[in-house]
């Protein structure tokens, strides 16, 4: 099933007085339970496309259709609601909240996404996810005391704790070494299957493509080819 459709998306930036078209009409549909990988040269527009799809910035043109609704016509508050309850994000850096413990990071996410569960259910959920990312033993640690890989695993836990429909990941393994990268990638792949998530991921790393169900190559703001 196509849960997420990117339809004719264009994006132009003003570079001084010059108008630059960074995305030149992107059409893409993403399937539930699949990891779609976005690859391409630096500057080809991958991150721009991902953040537009995730509702973090608007497109200049075109539609983002999620669950049959066009997000491009929604107001900021509607987009924020969808983002906080239906989407999850992982980026190159974990972007954890520095003054919250691992457990509290996840608690905050549950609060914000308004998954109406009581404290005990929340704790149970958090324990489950932390076991999944193998961070249960560090649940009272602050981000400052975690290694890069540990932080990234917490970030992934935070991205999925509220059971999002779509997971966006922009070079989630860029700050990790090869072994840790494989761990994180297989984690993302497993979660996608287990929770039937629609996952869109940008990566530079050829090695990581084995974890993708579908590979999309971008060049200069356009999609070159699909590969399954």
């Amino acid at each position: 099933m196509n849960a997420f459709i990117i339809d004719g998306v264009r994006k132009t930036f003003m570079n001084g007085d010059v108008k630059e078209e960074i995305l030149k009409g992107i059409n893409l549909s993403l399937k539930e339970g699949e990891v779609t990988a976005l690859v391409g040269a630096s500057g080809s527009g991958k991150s721009t496309l991902l953040t537009i799809a995730a509702g973090l910035q608007p497109a200049s043109n075109g539609k983002i259709i999620f669950n049959g609704n066009n997000m491009s016509t929604m107001n900021a508050e509607q987009v924020r609601k969808i983002r906080s309850s239906q989407f999850g994000f992982v980026f190159q850096f974990a972007h954890l909240v520095p003054f919250l413990t691992v457990e509290e990071q996840l608690m905050l996410m549950l609060d914000v996404s308004q998954s109406k569960r009581n404290k005990r259910e929340q704790k149970g959920e958090i324990n489950k996810i932390l076991k999944l990312v193998e961070m249960n033993h560090r649940k009272n640690a602050y981000p400052g005391s975690l290694s890069g890989g540990e932080k990234q695993r917490v970030a992934i836990a935070r991205a999925i704790i509220h059971q999002p429909k779509v997971l966006f990941a922009d070079e989630p393994t860029a700050s990790l070494d090869s072994n840790k990268s494989k761990e994180v990638m297989s984690l993302i792949q497993n979660l996608t299957k287990a929770l039937n998530v629609t996952t869109l991921m940008v990566t530079h790393d050829e090695e990581m493509l084995i974890y993708a169900d579908k590979i999309i190559k971008m060049s200069d703001g356009m999609i070159l080819e699909h590969e399954d």
Partner: protein, 344 residues
């Protein structure tokens, strides 16, 4: 989950610094304001501690109480009409003790009243500060314009005029010293109700105080000092809250990316600001009140509870405005920016 509190718990040092700034600056303002008030009290406690009411002096005195002379008729007319009104006079002068040492005092005499102590002929009631100078009940004084001796009958608290202790004397003695049979002023407590005789001019307490040139000038400087302090402290608060918010922009961006509403971020900032400010103000207000009790008696320090609360409120409001203005940037933070900026 209360993230405002969680952040304070983790970053105790940072909030402690902010709190100590609020504490020190407000303490400074409280103390200076207490000293200013003390000076003002030292200058005019005699008048300031009277209840609210009207002061009358003769019109031809041109608003200088020293030049005012009340006709006996006019005085009687007002005093019979307003039962609790009194006529009184103030003159600066000297008392010589037995060792011929001169003490500068403000002589005050009045018609029968509960507002001032009533003194018999040949007696004097002094401000308590004279007691600290070693004067005792039963001591005698002379005065260059007075034939007899004045015997100290009692001391009374907080009676100062023009930075000198007040010496209450009998009207007859006063008339002998200053060779006049006329009183200078009438004071009528309560709201202005009686009509004023044509030859008199009425002043509210504040207006009367301002006719005393030394008082007016001093008061202006003191008020200036206090308000400058309040304004500068307010700006300091605002700047510190601003710097703190600027440092937290990336954090606000991430919280927005997670899905927190802007209003939730404002609530977080306000909670922290209120917590820090209230705690610091309580501390500095308490400390300045203790200082009020413990200040050496020679130091003019006077800080009322009302003034402390008033100033605290002003500080709180200024802090709130400062934090809110600096927090306006929160509205502008884009979550995307925070994500592209890298790790915080």
């Amino acid at each position: 989950m209360n993230i405002a509190w969680k952040e304070i718990r983790k970053n105790k040092g940072r909030f402690l610094i902010l709190g100590s700034i609020v504490f020190l600056v407000s303490l400074l303002t409280f103390i200076i304001s207490g000293l200013a008030n003390g000076l003002s009290q030292d200058n005019a406690a005699l008048i300031k501690d009277l209840p609210n009411g009207q002061f009358y002096m003769s019109k031809d005195a041109e608003e200088t109480y020293n030049l005012s002379k009340l006709d006996k008729d006019t005085q009687d007319k007002v005093l019979t009409k307003q039962k609790d009104a009194i006529a009184f006079s103030i003159q600066m002068g000297f008392l010589n003790d037995r060792t011929d040492k001169q003490h500068s005092v403000a002589f005050v005499t009045s018609t029968d009243t509960k507002l001032f102590p009533i003194v018999n002929k040949g007696e004097v009631v002094l401000d308590r500060s004279m007691e600290d100078d070693g004067i005792e009940i039963g001591d005698t004084f002379t005065n260059n314009q007075y034939s007899g001796e004045l015997i100290v009958k009692d001391f009374i608290d907080q009676s100062k005029f023009s930075h000198a202790p007040v010496a209450y004397i009998n009207t007859e003695d006063y008339q002998e010293m200053y060779r006049t049979s006329k009183m200078q002023l009438i004071f009528a407590p309560g709201e202005d109700s009686a009509e004023v005789p044509a030859e008199l001019k009425a002043f509210s307490k504040e207006a009367f105080l301002n006719t005393i040139p030394s008082y007016k000038a001093e008061q202006m400087s003191l008020n200036m000092i206090v308000w400058f302090l309040v304004v500068i402290s307010g700006m300091l608060f605002a700047i510190f809250f601003y710097m703190m918010n600027v440092q937290k922009m990336a954090l606000y961006g991430i919280l927005k990316a997670i899905g927190l509403k802007t209003s939730a971020l404002f609530k977080m900032m306000w909670t922290q600001m209120a917590f820090i400010t209230i705690l610091s103000l309580l501390l500095s207000a308490g400390l300045s009140q203790i200082f009020n009790r413990l200040a050496p008696s020679g130091m003019p320090f006077h800080l009322t509870f009302e003034t402390t609360i008033q100033l605290s409120l002003v500080f709180f409001i200024i802090g709130f405005i400062g934090a809110t203005l600096s927090g306006m940037q929160i509205k502008k933070v884009e979550p995307l920016q925070a994500i592209q900026q890298g790790e915080i």
